[in-house]
């Protein structure tokens, strides 16, 4: 009863992998205090694909970073895999993918994927085999000896995904990973990501600006609004699990896109009227 984000029945079973309770984040000192996130409650089950969507400044990237323990929350508790986020990070439960691929020019593609395994001091043969398998998974098996700058933007981002998966993370955190790609590449990458998600069964938290992308990929879309950043709605995406190019032409897909768009719009005005925000929460509960 604490929030609008209670796991509804009918979703595949699995305990919560991520549990946020009353999380808030305040940036700056007393003078320039900015409330980036306020009263965030969110529970994500194992194997879910959850998108965070909202206008710039709604704190969706901040929320992702708090889950990944890249920055601390100001208040509230973040539990990942049943332990504090910090312990989860120290246990290497996360794979991160950023908007920029963040590949190192001084390493080959293969060596870039091996990086996390090197940090964990895994033996050479294991590192090489794992990195090769991950590159196969993102269909770049023959590009191991290339340098990152020799690949296109979409391919670079696939290498970043391969690297993020190299440690078999329980959770994949993705911060607008396809934001810098053109529309065609982006749609191809979406399909690719769904295939990888299907194969690995990892839980994904995905930050995006794009409504169609969020609907196409997710099992749930978390709609956020700004000043202060908060969750205004959570929309269940009940499209069939095996999604493909035709999914984007289904009536239900368009309905859900419209639904997310409206949620974003009402979230914008919500800040002036607390009652409206409550209504939105209630709606989220019944959805």
């Amino acid at each position: 009863m604490t929030d609008a984000v209670i796991q509804p029945t009918g979703r595949p079973a699995g305990g919560p992998v991520v549990e946020l309770v009353d999380v808030s984040k305040v940036f700056g000192g007393s003078a320039g205090r900015v409330e980036a996130l306020s009263a965030i409650d969110l529970s994500i089950a194992s194997g879910e694909f959850v998108s965070l969507i909202g206008p710039s400044g709604c704190g969706k990237s901040t929320l992702l970073r708090i889950v990944g323990d890249l920055i601390p929350a100001s208040d509230g508790t973040v539990t990942v895999n049943g332990k504090p986020a910090r312990d989860a990070r120290l246990d290497r439960d996360y794979g991160m993918v950023f908007q920029a691929p963040v590949l190192f020019d001084w390493r080959t593609v293969q060596k870039n994927v091996e990086l996390p395994l090197e940090i964990l001091r895994r033996p050479k043969t294991e590192r090489e085999a794992k990195a090769r398998a991950m590159l196969e998974l993102v269909e770049l098996g023959s590009f191991g000896d290339h340098r990152p700058w020799q690949l296109s933007g979409g391919m670079q981002q696939r290498v970043a995904i391969a690297r993020a998966l190299a440690l078999d993370p329980a959770i994949l955190l993705m911060d607008e990973p396809f934001g810098a790609l053109d529309e065609m590449t982006r749609e191809r990458m979406n399909l690719e990501l769904l295939r990888i998600w299907d194969r690995t069964g990892t839980t994904v938290i995905f930050v995006t600006h794009s409504i169609p992308e969020a609907v196409f990929l997710s099992t749930r879309v978390v709609v956020m609004s700004a000043r202060p950043g908060r969750i205004t709605d959570v929309i269940e995406i009940d499209l069939p699990r095996d999604r493909n190019v035709e999914t984007r032409e289904m009536d239900r897909y368009f309905e859900l896109v419209t639904r997310v768009r409206e949620a974003l719009r009402s979230g914008d005005g919500g800040s002036a009227d607390p009652a409206a925000a409550d209504r939105v929460r209630a709606e989220g509960l019944s959805a």
């Binding site: 890249l70 963040v102 020019d105 080959t108 670079q156």
Partner: protein, 273 residues
Amino acid sequence: MSVAVTTPSGRSAAARLGTGLRDWVPAGAVLLGFLVVWQLVVSIFQIKQFILPGPIAIAQAWQEDLPALWAATTYTLSEIITGLLLGVSAGLLVGVLTARFATARESLMPFAIAANSVPILAFAPVFNNWFGVANPLSKAMVAAVLCFFPVMINTVRGLTSVQPAALELMRSYAAGQLEVFRRVRVPNALPFIFTALRLSTTLATIGAIVGEYFAAPRSSLGQYIATASGFLNFERSWAAIVFAAAIGIGLYVLVVALERLVMPWYGSRDEAT
């Protein structure tokens, strides 16, 4: 970003050397043409020897006085190399420490950047006084101080100008400070450091030779040039200048070669873009 996926990374060393040599052909042709034009201008317009000797006259002077020239060159070269080693290692060391500690960075960097603009050559007579005119260390120290600031500043910049996302990535792997330093900061700093090293070879050469102009043993390039010019023996001055230029260029080429060895990815990246 949208570079085509054509160039394989593993080009053979021999092929690269071949391309390297071919790269030098146009430059060599220009040099040869320049020498020919120089000689022609001097001969045709009968330019006085004390204004500009021709390349042939310089080559003759070079040949006549080779033992003395060679002795002066090796003396000065040892000063330059001592200065480079001292200045570069001190610059690297202080740079690493400054980059590591934020307070050191904030308090030292403004002074380093200001000191980098100070005409350090003006201190050459003072250094002669401190270390002794006859002591090669007096010139080596001028060279060292000249090299120190660019190396230090670029080391700090290289180590600290890492993409924030790269640091977040390393944090998500729970990588320690040493891992971040070794695997991200140092490789990121290498291009910055090599830029400073290239500059240092030139600065050290200038520092040592100009330092010698003020006062130095007879058998040094600076004094050789000053004395020969004093006796209006300009072919000899020019012959010594050729040696000085060879030192400067030679050290520069050495650093470029080292750079290709240490960061093979860097040069070929430029080729690809």
